[in-house]
């Protein structure tokens, strides 16, 4: 809502309150003033000039030589505007004047003729071209004849005004009109509101003789009123009216249309003027549209309606879409002699649905939608418009408003203990203070014992419950004056859950391992959403948006790795080849019942490419490989103390290298994978060797490890024996670990693999693995005999189960 400071002065005494100070006060009281626009910004030294003569420039067809009387002198000005003419009063930028865009007017010569200034168009004076009245759109502006030569042209054009741009939220729709703003500002400044006193001189002839009104769509139209005004003269509006509309951001069109807009701005009540002769009947019938019914609206668009829309008809054909826009068939034109003036109340939701479906949000529709209408002034607004039409466009106002429905409704009364104000705000306001604030807001309020009774003006439909009333008191009292306290309730223990604590530990662990945390988008393409999932079996599918903005962001991810691949590509494209990233985030799997929530699991995923260390100055850099990633994961599981329940088994997965991929098992359940991207995938994405992992973090963090219990330190020495085993090359180290661990029993305390060898001195297809085995009994010293026996058992088990031979 654009509020003209000068216009507002009609209703409230603003003496001593600058536009900026006013804006600050309004903002603090709850309606944000987004901008204060000084209309004369960058403009100065513009005078009213009188074109004494206007002749063709001797050397240019399209230019005129004008002698312009500026009051103190008459100067020659060269003017190229097509509409310049002798006798006009025009805005003149004198030599030395400034125009917007930092333009300075100087004496100059145009095709050999001196020009002492410039005759201006409105847009040259800073008025938005969209708001310039059509008759002046392609030329200079022309004042009315009574403009006084030599005076400051800016005040004639109201360009000495300031416009406050109010951000209207759903609870401040009452400020979608000047009277509402006046009430608001009067309450803030603690002043009185001086409203227009409407006086209509009606002719004896009743309007009912010309028109009848029926509301058929009672569900959506509580009230419809019509006035008839005859013998009008349609022409441009007077200067003051045009100025006010321009300040409010509405382009002046003609006096009748301008007046309906003006009253809408003033009262919030949208009005519509029909050309009575073109209306097509003597009957207004307000009904729901028929399915498929057509109307061409004032913007020359053909609209197809449905039964949820409401239309104004002449009994047969629609002549307007209720609350949104009129039809061309009954549009007021310069030939119009009689108007039918509509002032009606339409249901907010109906108007919103229609405006939204037809994609035609208008000044009128937004006022109906947001309930920015003073319901009980619906008739007064019609009277105000009739009065203005009479004054400005001539005409005879037929007597009475022809109407159907309920013209006024009674205000709601809110009752609450007056102390509630203090209970909610934490203030200590006396009842008298509360009553006086409510009276500043023009709310009728009184105390009945401890109960506050407040009658809520109809113009404030946003105030419906006691809390709303508390807010009204609070915002006028000022939140600056509310103390800052601390809650007095019982204290509580603030803490992270075990899961949240462990998750933070996982963050810190990966960061310590040199990985950067990434946060990528959950929405991706349908294809990427299902790539590299941990659980790729089963029919469970992806979650897709009903109306995606693009295919790129159409489907919720079921894995994180594909998103991280994009991040690595981004880095490679910028010559950054060493990337280590991790991400913790949700993945989504659709539920079979489509209106049930999808399954959401928190995953951790990582990606590694390039060298292992960032700075290397000794020899060749070591590149990350499968074991880099596995080590990082083993370290994580170890830190979380679940390593003994974790195993890695060779696996084949789409998109991953068939020989360099393992599934991660927690006990017997697959909870993730790690591996190298398949060379084909790497090639297709222009990647170097890239290693990835993804793991269901919830499964890992939800393992209940119980409390930590101290175990006594061993009092007896441990004995370490090494064993080197030769096996076929396809035997996995993990298998040997399992056999050794089982055979070693309780005496075997630790197994360390310290050498893997293949090559010279070994047969083709064979490899040697050397383990260091630590034996320990915490209760006693082990004898050589016991150790020899266990060591022998281990060797035998390895021979029997895996065909291992002791390396000679």
């Amino acid at each position: 809502m654009l509020v003209s400071y000068n216009w507002l002065k009609d209703y409230v005494d603003l003496n001593g309150v600058s536009p900026e100070a006013l804006a600050d006060k309004i903002t603090k009281a709850g309606i944000e003033v987004e901008h204060v626009h000084a209309m004369s910004e960058g403009v100065k030294n513009i005078a009213v000039g009188h074109v004494v003569s206007c002749e063709q420039h001797p050397n240019a067809d399209k230019l005129n030589l004008c002698q312009v009387d500026l009051g103190d002198e008459t100067v020659q000005i060269v003017c190229g505007a097509p509409n310049v003419a002798k006798g006009q009063k025009v805005p003149v930028a004198k030599v030395g004047a400034r125009l917007p865009g930092n333009i300075k007017i100087k004496r100059s010569k145009l095709r050999g003729e001196t020009s002492n200034g410039m005759i201006c168009s409105l847009s040259e004076l800073g008025v938005d071209a969209k708001l310039v009245p059509k008759e002046f759109a392609d030329g200079i502006y022309v004042f009315e004849e009574d403009a006084v030569v030599g005076e400051n042209a800016l005040s004639y054009l109201n360009l000495d005004d300031h416009v406050l741009e109010l951000d209207i939220l759903p609870n401040s729709a009452h400020c979608l009109n000047m009277i509402g703003v006046a009430y608001e500002v009067a309450a803030i400044l603690n002043k009185d509101v001086d409203l227009p006193r409407v006086l209509v001189n009606e002719t004896p002839m009743p309007a009912e003789s010309k028109i009848r009104v029926n509301i058929e769509a009672k569900d959506a139209v509580p009230y419809y009123g019509a006035r008839v005004i005859e013998n009008i003269n349609v022409k441009p509006s007077p200067q003051w009216l045009q100025n006010r509309l321009i300040a409010a951001g509405i382009r002046p069109i003609s006096n009748i249309v301008d007046i309906t807009n003006y009253v809408m701005l003033e009262y919030g009540q949208p009005l519509h003027a029909f050309d009575y002769e073109r209306f097509g009947s003597d009957r207004v019938l307000v009904r729901h549209a028929n399915d498929g019914e057509m109307i061409t609206t004032l913007d020359d668009e053909e609209r197809t309606l449905t039964t949820s829309d409401v239309v104004i008809t002449n009994g047969i054909d629609p002549v307007a879409v209720a609350g949104v826009m009129g039809g061309v068939n009954s549009e007021v034109s310069s030939e119009t002699r009689t108007v039918l003036l509509e002032s009606a109340i339409f249901d907010a939701l109906t108007v919103r649905k229609t405006a939204s479906r037809l994609q035609m949000r208008t000044d009128a529709s937004s006022r109906y939608e947001k309930k920015g209408i003073d319901r009980n002034r619906v008739a007064e607004a019609a009277d105000r418009a009739a009065e203005l039409i009479q004054t400005i466009a001539g005409g005879d106002v037929l007597s009475g408003i022809v109407e159907d429905g309920v013209r006024t409704v009674s205000p709601q009364v809110i009752k609450m203990p007056w102390q509630k104000v203090n209970d909610v705000l934490g203030t200590d306001l006396a009842p008298d203070t509360i009553l006086s604030i409510l009276s500043r807001l023009n709310f009728q309020a009184e105390l009945n014992g401890d109960t506050l009774h407040a009658s809520i003006p109809i113009r404030r439909p946003d105030v419906t419950i006691p809390e709303d009333l508390v807010e009204e008191v609070g915002r006028i009292y000022g939140y600056d004056h509310v103390p800052a306290t601390l809650p007095e309730g019982p204290s509580t223990q603030g803490t992270l859950t075990a899961y949240q604590r462990k998750r933070r530990r996982v963050h810190r662990y990966f960061e310590g391992q040199g990985l950067q945390q990434a946060i990528t988008y959950s929405l991706t393409t349908g294809k990427k959403a299902s790539e590299l999932r941990i659980n790729n079996q089963g029919a469970s599918g992806s979650v897709q948006l009903a109306m995606p903005m693009s295919e790129e962001r159409s489907t919720l991810r079921m894995s994180i790795v594909p998103q991280l691949i994009e991040v690595v590509q981004y880095h490679l494209n910028r010559q950054m080849g060493d990337v280590k990233l991790y991400e913790i985030g949700k993945i989504f799997i659709a539920n079979e019942e489509k209106n049930d929530l999808p399954i959401e699991r928190e995953h951790v995923a990582g990606i590694f490419t390039g060298s292992r260390e960032e700075r290397i100055w000794e020899g060749q850099p070591l590149l990350v490989d499968y074991y880099t990633v596995k080590g990082v994961l083993e370290g994580l599981f170890n830190q979380l103390d679940v390593l003994s329940s974790i195993s890695f088994k060779p696996a084949k997965r789409d998109g991953l290298h068939p020989g360099r991929t393992a599934d991660i098992y927690l006990n017997n359940k697959v909870i993730g994978y790690l591996g190298q991207l398949h060379p084909n995938v790497q090639k297709a994405n222009d990647l170097q060797d890239t290693f990835v992992f993804e793991c269901d973090l919830q499964s890992v963090l939800n393992v209940d490890m119980g409390a930590i219990t101290y175990k006594a330190l061993p009092r007896y020495p441990s004995i370490t024996r090494d064993i080197a085993l030769v096996v076929k090359e396809d035997v996995k180290a993990g298998e040997l670990y399992d056999v050794i661990r089982t055979a070693g029993g309780s005496l075997l305390n630790d197994i360390q693999l310290f050498d893997v060898y293949q090559g010279e001195h070994l047969e083709e297809g064979q490899k040697s693995l050397a383990f260091s085995l630590k034996y320990l009994d915490p209760e006693r010293t082990l004898t050589d005999k016991e150790i020899n026996q266990t060591h022998e058992d281990i060797l035998n088990a390895c021979q029997d189960k895996l065909g291992a031979v002791l390396r000679g």
């Binding site: 309730g489 803490t495 995606p548 903005m549 880095h571 209106n595």
Partner: protein, 344 residues
């Protein structure tokens, strides 16, 4: 005999003094103090001396031996030090070459901001609550006083999946779910961080996915002044001790009264600059007293309980705090960007 011992001592001392290495010194030790050395010989021949001479010569021989011993030990210490110094000199490295460490990674700036906020409120007795990112229409809107026909919930603004499911547009549904779990009994004190989604085209100031962190405090006798007190402490923690706050009336469907919180600009200290658009104030968060409809729908008696709620955007806070100019940086994950926040 006495002269002989004296000469021996002088001769030995000269040789010891002249020794260049530990080997020579060891040879001298054997030569003079060994079992076959001259002093041992003197002591061994003591039996031949007179009763009067014996103690004198014995004393002298022992003194000479002690003296030689001392000279050798002293020299040995010197030579050993020299040897160590020589070895250390040969072991000198360029201590200014880069160390052999792998640079640690760091968390994302949004994680830094969220954890800082979480920790502040944990200190005040709040817990952290989380909820699904795909939400039921009921929790995302209806339970928050946004009935089906409310203008603020246009289909155009949200990512719907079905009529009933959508990507949550704020983390407020977690508040509704948390209140429901408390079954009408306070206090409820939670912070709800998480990802939210809106139908916005990504540009420098909009992102279809972003973070939100919200707080909720429901108990008997919770007042707007308590909200002001807690938010004042919060603003000082996040943006510095000198910060002032200002509450401005605003509108949210789920709070009444609703307020927006501004902090005095940390860039210009309230004097007006480009960061605060010359107002001296920066909008940080929205908040208010929980709307009675919201309390009631989640099972709380609004006559008995009141509460406040607030919500803010970690991206906005990080952008203000660190001067970041484009919200897309947070989701591009350029490591040159991420690494700038290792201290965060």
């Amino acid at each position: 005999m006495q002269e002989k011992l004296q000469a021996l001592k002088n001769e030995a001392k000269d040789l010891i003094q002249g020794a260049r290495d530990l080997k020579t010194l060891q040879d001298l030790r054997v030569k003079y103090l060994g079992k076959k050395g001259p002093i041992t010989e003197v002591l061994r021949g003591m039996g031949k001396l007179s009763k009067e001479e014996r103690p004198v010569i014995g004393q002298l021989a022992n003194d000479v031996r002690a003296s030689i011993q001392e000279a050798i030990d002293g020299k040995q210490g010197i030579l050993e030090n020299e040897a160590i110094e020589a070895r250390l000199a040969s072991e000198t490295i360029d201590v200014t070459l880069p160390g052999r460490i792998s640079s640690p990674g760091n968390h994302h700036p949004l994680t830094a901001v969220i954890e800082e906020i979480e920790d502040f409120f944990i200190g005040l007795g709040f817990s952290i609550a989380e909820g699904p990112e795909v939400e039921k229409d009921y929790y995302n809107f209806e339970a928050l006083n946004l009935p089906k026909d409310h203008p603020a919930r246009d289909m155009q603004d949200s990512f719907y999946i079905t009529e009933e499911l959508l990507l949550r547009t704020h983390t407020s549904p977690v508040q509704a779910r948390t209140m429901e779990k408390h079954k009408g009994k306070g206090p409820v004190k939670v912070i709800c961080p998480g990802k939210v989604y809106r139908r916005d085209t990504d540009d420098a100031t909009h992102s279809h996915q972003f973070m939100q962190i919200e707080g909720l405090y429901v108990d008997k006798n919770v007042r707007l002044s308590d909200l002001k007190g807690i938010l004042t402490a919060f603003a000082k923690k996040m943006f510095g001790e000198e910060r002032q706050i200002r509450l401005r009336p605003s509108f949210f469907p789920f709070t009444e009264p609703s307020v927006e919180m501004d902090i005095s600009c940390f860039h210009c200290n309230g004097e007006g600059c480009s960061v605060c658009k010359r107002t001296g104030w920066i909008e940080i968060l929205g908040s208010g007293m929980v709307h009675p409809n919201v309390l009631e729908m989640s099972g709380f008696d609004s006559k008995e309980y009141t509460g406040f709620a607030f919500g803010m955007g970690p991206e906005r806070i990080a952008m203000l705090k660190y001067g970041i100019d484009d919200i897309r940086h947070f989701y591009t994950n350029d490591t040159r960007f991420l690494k700038q926040f290792k201290r965060a």
